[in-house]
């Protein structure tokens, strides 16, 4: 037993020292607290359930969908949904102009939308965080060049810029995703840069510097994990705008190409039937609306749950 330990034992310090503890494991405790703040926001909880449902639908699409998404039935063109006159139980949400089942196409469409969201956000987050980290840490002219570049990207209406990029790269789902990621990443750059600049002033960063940590270690190991809170929120919100932008590009004929059952592309295909067959436009539109709304609600809930926590720690 060391000298101090002996002293501490005599004074009973070791005994009193904390146990401001933890009946459950700390991670569980943190999760519990997170859920408490998240569930305060009822809309967020509903959004989360809807979002989970959409994910499940996307995963089990082949099981759930009654037909193949691209199978055409020449005998059933523009069949209305089941509750309308002339509706049939064979096509619950009706069929489109070439006799494809709307319900099946919407179910498969969920796969595309989620993939788009995931790929775009991953791309935007990776690039955005790396660039933002460098700008916020290095400062000086590197920072100035990067930030002015981001300002230029932000100065364009985002859809217009994506449009131009797709026009250059050529239409297609992949190119559309790259274009959208490029348009979204300045938000991550700015957010990362701001939090890095704030965190860099904190004493624990200085402490790591005194110990001789390299700049790379400081950036990635020390600073970055403490900047993640707002980035998670931003990532969720970007997820929904990615879906929205992809739908818009699809609608303009520059995103996913027919016969892909992507919701935006479906809308574009249905344009000419708006007056004759309301269901071919309404359902894809509703699908986009519900998905985006659900994700945005979750994002709001995350913000509520993560922000006060950030301030406390």
């Amino acid at each position: 037993m060391s000298h101090v330990e002996a002293d501490e034992a005599r004074e009973g310090i070791g005994a009193g020292i904390e146990d401001r503890k933890a009946k459950v494991s700390p991670r569980r405790q943190m999760l519990k607290e997170f859920w408490y703040y998240f569930s305060e926001n009822k809309g967020a909880v509903v959004g989360l359930y809807v979002f989970i449902a959409i994910i499940l639908i996307a995963i089990f699409a082949p099981v759930l969908a009654p037909y193949d998404a691209t199978a055409q039935n020449r005998g059933a063109l523009l069949v209305p949904p089941v509750w309308a006159d002339n509706g049939s139980w064979a096509y619950i949400l009706g069929t489109d102009a070439v006799g494809r089942d709307m319900l099946s196409r919407l179910i498969y469409g969920a796969r595309y939308s989620l993939t788009i969201g995931l790929v775009v956000v991953t791309l935007a987050v990776t690039v955005g965080i790396s660039v933002g980290l460098i700008a916020g840490y290095v400062r000086g002219w590197v920072d100035i060049v990067i930030m002015r570049l981001m300002d230029i990207i932000l100065a364009f209406p985002s859809l217009l810029l994506a449009l131009v990029l797709v026009a250059v790269l050529g239409p297609g789902l992949l190119n559309a995703m790259i274009a959208i990621a490029l348009v979204l990443q300045p938000h991550f750059v700015r957010l990362t840069r701001a939090s890095v600049m704030a965190e860099k002033q904190r004493e624990y960063v200085t402490a790591a510097r005194v110990v001789g940590a390299s700049p790379l270690r400081l950036m990635v190991v020390t600073i970055l994990p403490n900047c993640l809170g707002p980035l998670i929120v931003q990532a969720t919100l970007s997820f929904s705008s990615a879906i929205l932008d992809a739908a818009a590009l699809g609608f303009l004929g520059l995103g996913a190409q027919p016969p892909t059952p992507e919701w935006g592309t479906m809308l574009a295909d249905a344009q000419e039937f708006v007056l004759r067959a309301w269901w071919v436009v309404t359902f894809p539109g509703l699908a986009i609306l519900i998905t985006v709304l659900a994700i945005n609600l979750v994002g709001d809930g995350l913000r509520d749950a993560l922000d006060p926590k950030m301030k406390r720690s």
Binding site: I13, G16, R20, Y36
Partner: protein, 323 residues
């Protein structure tokens, strides 16, 4: 009749992991013209009690009291509007962080005059004159020029003077000072304490001084309340408190001050203030008390007599002297 009477004030916060009692049966009498010190470590609930009095707590807090009276106003039954009129005019408060207590968007003059307009209804000219008088009374040099200054152009000490000027603008009968000098340097702290004591004496104002610094209490207060984990563990006049503390916590707190230490090693209080999840049975201080026995660990102690500083303890210290 005392100026302020608080009887059995309890404040409970709703938190993620259940209710947390921040203030527990808080009693207080403040007489006209006295300085009452409330001392305690962080988390002892000393500020929360006063914020509850002012009605400044967030909605997650539940406040209950048997009596909460300022002169003959019952603060519990008062409407929000009446309460707001009373607060700021009859009793007012200054805070620890003078820099953030002032709105950075407006000039000092605008903020002082705002107070004067709301509570006194003076016209423009009278407000200007009164504002200059007020800044003079708190010892700010060049008051005319300071009126058009923005808060970021003032130092911490000057901002605190401005806050004091605003708080005393309507000649309140009670000033609550919540750690007014903690954020300031010692020489500035001395100036601000002198100013507060002078103002208090000249105007016959009562003052409640909340602090963690025993030195500040020793320098200024007349009577002292020692607060621990939401409870008042001792209430005494300042002279006898420092000579003959009756509660073991007070005694330990006093002997832990480096200036009063005799040996090489400072006496310490083992352990930490109990938090939400680990409040002990019996006396709240028992896990950290060297004199605790089974009675302390099971039975909640009563308040002792006035002669024993109303110590919340089964076995108060220094009993011979008091007898």
């Amino acid at each position: 009749m005392p100026l302020l009477t608080i009887r059995n004030l309890t404040v409970t916060f709703d938190t993620a992991s259940g209710p947390f009692k921040a203030v527990d049966s808080f009693d207080l009498n403040v007489d006209k013209g006295e300085i009452l010190g409330i001392v305690g470590e962080s988390g002892s609930g000393k500020s929360v009690a006063m914020l509850a009095l002012m009605g400044l707590l967030p909605p997650t807090a539940t406040v209950t009291a048997d009596e909460l009276a300022f002169e003959d106003h019952d603060l519990r039954t008062m409407s929000g509007r009446e309460r707001r009129r009373l607060i700021g005019a009859e009793m007012s408060m200054i805070f620890q962080e003078p820099m953030s207590s002032l709105n950075p968007c407006f000039t000092v003059g605008f903020q002082i005059k705002e107070t004067l307009r709301i509570h006194l209804g003076l016209d423009r000219k009278a407000r200007q004159k009164r504002a200059i008088e007020l800044l003079e009374s708190v010892g700010l040099p060049e008051p005319e020029r300071r009126l058009s200054a923005f808060p970021h152009q003032l130092s911490g000490g000057m901002s605190q003077r401005v806050m004091i000027a605003m708080a005393t603008a309507c000649h309140p009968k009670l000033l609550i000072a919540d750690e007014p000098t903690t954020a300031l340097d010692v020489t500035i702290q001395a100036q601000i304490l002198d100013l507060l004591v002078d103002l208090q004496r000249d105007r016959g104002m009562a003052m409640v001084l909340i602090t963690h610094d025993m030195g500040v209490v020793a320098e200024t207060a007349h009577r002292v309340v020692v607060q621990y984990a939401g409870q008042q563990v001792e209430r005494q006049p300042v002279e006898t408190l420092f000579d003959e503390p009756h509660h073991p916590y007070t005694a330990a707190l006093l002997s832990a001050i480096p200036e009063r230490a005799t040996g090489d090693r400072l006496p310490t209080i083992p352990g930490v203030v109990p938090g939400q999840g680990d409040r002990p049975d019996g006396c709240l201080f028992n896990p950290r008390c060297s004199r605790a026995d089974d009675r302390c660990r099971t039975i909640e102690p009563p308040h002792q007599s006035d002669a024993l500083g109303q110590a919340l303890c089964h076995y108060p210290l220094n009993t011979e002297e008091a007898a």
